[in-house]
């Protein structure tokens, strides 16, 4: 038994009937999760790139359930990042100002790449903070 803090799942995927097409996506997610565990390599599934009927899309979302985190960010249109009931599986949807979906995908990652600060940003931050501190020192 691991000592991990149990994830608080808002909707349980148990009991949801899974159709053939959705099951296939489920297996792909499972494979990507296993790869994330073994090699640390992240993966993504573009939901707009799958030949799904509308009811299958609903089935897929029901199968994935809802986890603890649900973030909404306004970046020239809303972006929603939701943890599913399966830790490491994130549902991400970006929309434009007119509420049209720009992209929608599942990201299999410890934390979505989109949220991570990038190396060049951190380099800028070091430089800017350093300048600020030097400036502050001059006023002391």
């Amino acid at each position: 038994m691991s000592g991990a803090i149990p994830l608080k799942v808002k909707t349980s995927p148990k009991g949801v009937t899974i159709g053939g097409g959705v099951k296939a996506i489920g297996y792909e997610i499972q494979t990507l999760l296993e790869r994330l565990l073994s090699d640390g390599e992240s993966g993504a599934i573009d939901l707009r790139g799958l030949p799904m009927a509308p009811n299958e899309y609903e089935q897929l979302l029901a199968m994935l359930g809802v986890g603890e985190l649900d973030l909404e960010i306004d970046l020239n249109g809303p972006s929603r990042i939701r943890e599913t009931a399966y830790p490491g599986v994130w549902w991400i949807q970006h929309k434009d100002r007119e509420d049209r979906v720009l992209s929608e995908y599942l990201e299999i990652n410890r934390i979505p790449d989109f949220l991570c600060a990038q190396t060049d940003q951190i380099e800028d931050a070091v430089r800017e903070l350093s300048d600020r501190l030097k400036g502050a020192a001059e006023y002391d």
Partner: protein, 358 residues
């Protein structure tokens, strides 16, 4: 003769975005949209964004030949990912005589100036076929044939993007009997990278995605018809939501029968999905609203070479293989037989799999 005498240093895309107040995550959101369309993993999005930010703001020269302006209309109505901004702000669209305010000599001067200042680095976008019959006299402007115009402007280009099936393979203008001898760009220009983005029109997101992909990482991987594999790697049939009915041998017989309404395969009604490589089934049209097959009409194969001469749009795709028109029925039957055989094979595979699982 245009040369590199007055070449200018252009700002990077990153500098342009910083000046415009576009935040990094906003840019990442845009890149995520593009890389998702190209089926790239999230880790690649970060690298893609970095490369795109570092790219120099490109000069784009957009030249139209034998065309209907449909491709340009589609491009300027691109939804995802807000590419109007990219096209009109991040890239420098230095010449497009349909969109620019200037006309006549002033417009031509703008083209020559852009060619001179960006020699060897500009992206040339070609829209429309090029007439070659009788030394190209069927297509002329400013006293020069389209062939000569294309050769001149291609000379200083870093790469050429042929948008639409006409610029790619001759398209509508090249339909039998092709009186003007219309051909695509790659039939004339042999010494520059040519990227074909065919379609009638192409999907707007594919056009803009190809331009951005070129900016970030150069000429993308192309198929044998010079199309980017990221967008043209699968047939319509492979990604079609009606495919499962094809596998079961269930075909609509008319456009409004029960089968058609229940999503059965449109193969017998002339759908070109099995032989057409494009991204309509996944990216769809009008901001992902729908696409022809979802609306109940078969694919007409507009992203394939010679698509106007592939037989009637309402005959099964195999019909053109039969010389006699009367044999079209046999072709349809052949298609059904292929579908049924595929269904049987799929059933057998499923049974075998079930046995193995047990």
């Amino acid at each position: 003769m245009i040369n590199a005498r007055n070449k200018k240093e252009r700002p990077t895309v990153g500098q342009m975005l910083d000046e415009a107040g576009v935040g990094r995550r906003q840019f990442m959101k845009y890149c995520a949209g593009i890389t998702a369309l190209m089926a790239m993993p999230p880790a690649a999005t970060t690298a893609f964004a970095r490369q795109l930010r570092a790219a120099r703001r490109p000069s784009v020269i957009y030249v139209p030949y034998q065309e209907c302006t449909g491709c340009l209309m589609a491009l300027t109505r691109s939804f995802a990912p807000s590419l109007e901004n990219l096209i009109f702000d991040v890239v420098s669209l230095d010449y497009n005589h349909t969109l620019m305010a200037a006309a006549g000599t002033a417009a031509m001067d703008a083209k020559y100036k852009a060619m001179e200042e960006n020699y060897g680095e500009y992206i040339l976008v070609v829209d429309g076929a090029i007439s070659t019959a009788e030394n190209g006299v069927h297509g002329m402007a400013v006293g020069q044939t389209f062939i000569d115009q294309l050769k001149d402007v291609a000379e200083g280009a870093a790469a050429i993007v042929a948008v639409g099936v006409c610029a790619s393979y001759g398209g509508v203008a090249a339909a039998h009997p092709n009186p003007t001898g219309a051909v695509g760009v790659a039939d004339i220009i042999k010494n520059k990278p040519v990227i074909n983005v065919p379609g009638c029109p192409p999907i707007p997101e594919v056009m803009t995605g190809t331009l951005v992909s070129f900016l970030a990482s150069g000429v993308p991987e192309l198929d044998r018809h010079l199309r980017p594999r990221a967008f043209y790697g699968n047939t319509i049939h492979d990604r079609c939501y009606r495919r499962r009915f094809y596998d079961r041998g269930l075909f609509a017989k008319t456009f409004d029968d029960e089968g058609a309404r229940n999503g059965w395969c449109l193969y017998e009604l002339g759908c070109r999905g099995p032989t057409t490589y494009n991204a309509c089934a996944t990216i769809k049209w009008n901001g992902g609203t729908s696409w022809p097959v979802e609306s109940g009409h078969g694919c007409i194969g507009c992203s394939e070479p010679g698509f106007w001469d592939q037989g009637g749009f309402y005959e099964p795709v195999t019909a053109k293989l039969f010389r006699e028109r009367g044999q079209a029925f046999a072709a349809a039957a052949g298609g059904v037989a292929v579908g049924a055989a595929a269904a049987l094979a799929a059933k057998a595979r499923k049974k075998k799999l079930a046995k193995e699982t047990d």
